[in-house]
Symmetry: C2
Subunit: 360 residues, 2 copies
């Protein structure tokens, strides 16, 4: 069995795997509705929100696009604070829909700085929204939304705050309602220990109000349809029923553990893994203060080609890790530790790193 | 075990169910690429095409939207020939993107008439495309594309021909290349005996040319990204890996049987089932000539409320069938016979119908 340590899809626990092989059911019947309702209820607990949560049969990227197309109109002034590939991708989506984009880029491997957020927002009078990546998967940086969200919320033009937490939510504390986040997006195959194919999106009352005036065309991503069908715990189109089975089972496991314990586990694994990586003499891309609890980026030792190294890890040691993305492509490696992961999985990574680096 | 006879999700064979519970894999690795390539190859055999086929992690509706947003610009004149709910939905998507829509509606329960197609197209000088539903799931009508496609293709302005075969392809003969269909869409949970979550879209060279000039904004549905990633048998965003496992396994089973045998089986089951339904004195919605090989619509006997009847079927007899949609909502019932289905499944439907109708 491979040690799958890429930042999604992440390994599924045995119970989740088994649940996938249940016979499919009608998505217009009571059995489906019960599962849908239970999934949404458990998600609300982890999102820490009373807002509705919509289940889209699609990848996380589709969730990001859904956030762009539902609440704005062409020409609306928005700010994207980005620090890596997934932030760039979200800003690109915004551009394609003719939003008036201000993208403030932070160097890859570092977090968004609150002072810059403050300064940037001060300069814009009429601001429709701020978009920010909670956990930049491409670099392994966690942005501190406890600091940033209040700055956004203090802006006089009451911008929406949209947060991509695709690769952190479920594993990292992010209280949606307390932080007054308006739109929060994640995806099933990350910290949720589920099969890929469902993106989950929570929407505040304030965002729902804005939705009514949006002039961007859409259909499959039209959240007003999802809202209508969510009244009966259904989705507008056929949902990925088997993937939902996996999400149901994973959430039951997670709910039993409780969110505090899960959030703590992710922080501890991060700190433990970073400690071990330093011990074997490798350098980390991100500082301790800004490091993600779900994915760690590492510089290969000088002279080691990351692609050859990853190939060796995969072929000889059955360890699957990720390379860099965007500007960091070919330069770093990334190890995920979210969802179904233990200290021993990470010890194996460290052991294999030690061995393999003598061979590469 | 329920006899699930709705037009998708359809029941999965045991091997397909088992394949769903394999541990997930990296969507950027060789194992994934091999599966992706095999799936596309087998799909090309059933689509009867040399065109590329893109795998979208999304419902069939998203596939229909993808067909709308990739090849046109606002104001383009197009015709939708529709005869039910799914045709209406596709036309609605076209409207939302500001295409210059001509929707020619045929009464629900009847097929698109070639004479009307001919007359309609004659009146339009500059025609960008014709959209047609191959198999109208909402009524159980099969449109004869062997008659209609050549009429569309004979039009002087060389319109694209876009076909929704979500609920027929794989079970019904539709040779994409012979009929010069430009865009052909289906979805995993129908005749493909797979779990829901993947929509499959084949695109002709001619359509790919038009794609370059499209001015409709999109990202997740942007087929140029899918084309780029398909070069290495990958998808732009994270695919529904487990659903792809199911599709791989189902296609292996189907390929072994061969398309001719599968197409013949669907026609035979249709004819057999319609014969049995007539024998027990129930009336069919669609004529023999226009009847779908994958789903049959039936009028409940006079005085029988379809919802109460379906409830009885479900709760007492564990038989799950569908109701009507759109104008036929509350008026008809629908029984699917596509993919993993045998004569004995349909005999059970007939038996249960007989028994239950004495009780309702």
């Amino acid at each position: 069995m491979a040690n799958l340590r890429i930042p999604g899809p992440t390994p599924l626990p045995p119970q989740v795997l088994s649940s996938l092989s249940q016979q499919v059911i009608s998505h217009r019947g009571k059995s489906y509705e019960k599962i849908h309702q239970e999934v949404v209820d458990n998600l609300q607990y982890f999102f820490q929100t009373k807002n509705p949560i919509y289940l889209l049969t699609a990848s996380g990227t589709a969730g990001l696009e859904t956030a762009v197309v539902n609440f704005f109109s062409p020409g609306d002034t928005v700010v994207f604070f980005t620090c890596g590939e997934f932030g760039n991708r979200w800003a690109e989506i915004g551009k394609r829909y003719d939003l008036n984009i201000n993208q403030v880029k932070f160097p890859e491997g570092t977090a968004v700085k609150k002072e810059i957020v403050q300064q940037t927002l001060q300069k814009i009078k009429k601001l429709a929204a701020v978009f920010i990546t909670h956990n930049e998967t491409g670099t392994g940086v966690l942005n501190n939304l406890f600091e940033i969200a209040p700055i956004v919320k203090a802006h006089s033009s009451k911008p929406l705050l949209l947060v991509d937490s695709v690769s952190a939510l479920g594993g990292v504390n992010l209280p949606m309602d307390d932080l007054k986040i308006d739109v929060l997006i994640t995806a099933s195959q990350k910290a949720w220990m589920s099969s890929p194919g469902i993106s989950m999106i929570a929407v505040s009352e304030k965002a729902k109000e804005r939705q009514k005036n949006s002039k961007i065309p859409k259909y499959y991503f039209d959240l007003s349809l999802y809202e209508k069908f969510s009244q009966k715990n259904q989705t507008p189109a056929t949902p990925a029923v088997s993937v939902l089975f996996s999400l149901k089972t994973a959430l039951e496991i997670m709910r039993k553990q409780g969110r505090e314990k899960i959030f703590k586990k992710h922080l501890e694994l991060r700190d433990y893994f970073r400690g071990q990586i330093k011990k074997i003499g490798l350098k980390l891309v991100v500082t301790d203060k800004e490091a993600s609890p779900t994915v760690t980026s590492i510089w290969p030792p000088e002279g080691v080609d990351e692609a050859s190294w990853r190939k060796l890890l995969r072929e000889k040691y059955n360890l699957v890790i990720a390379g860099g993305m965007g500007d960091l492509k070919g330069k770093i490696v990334r190890v995920a530790h979210m969802g179904y992961v233990t200290k021993s999985d990470l010890n194996q990574v460290v052991d294999v790193f030690k061995k393999s680096l003598k061979e590469v």
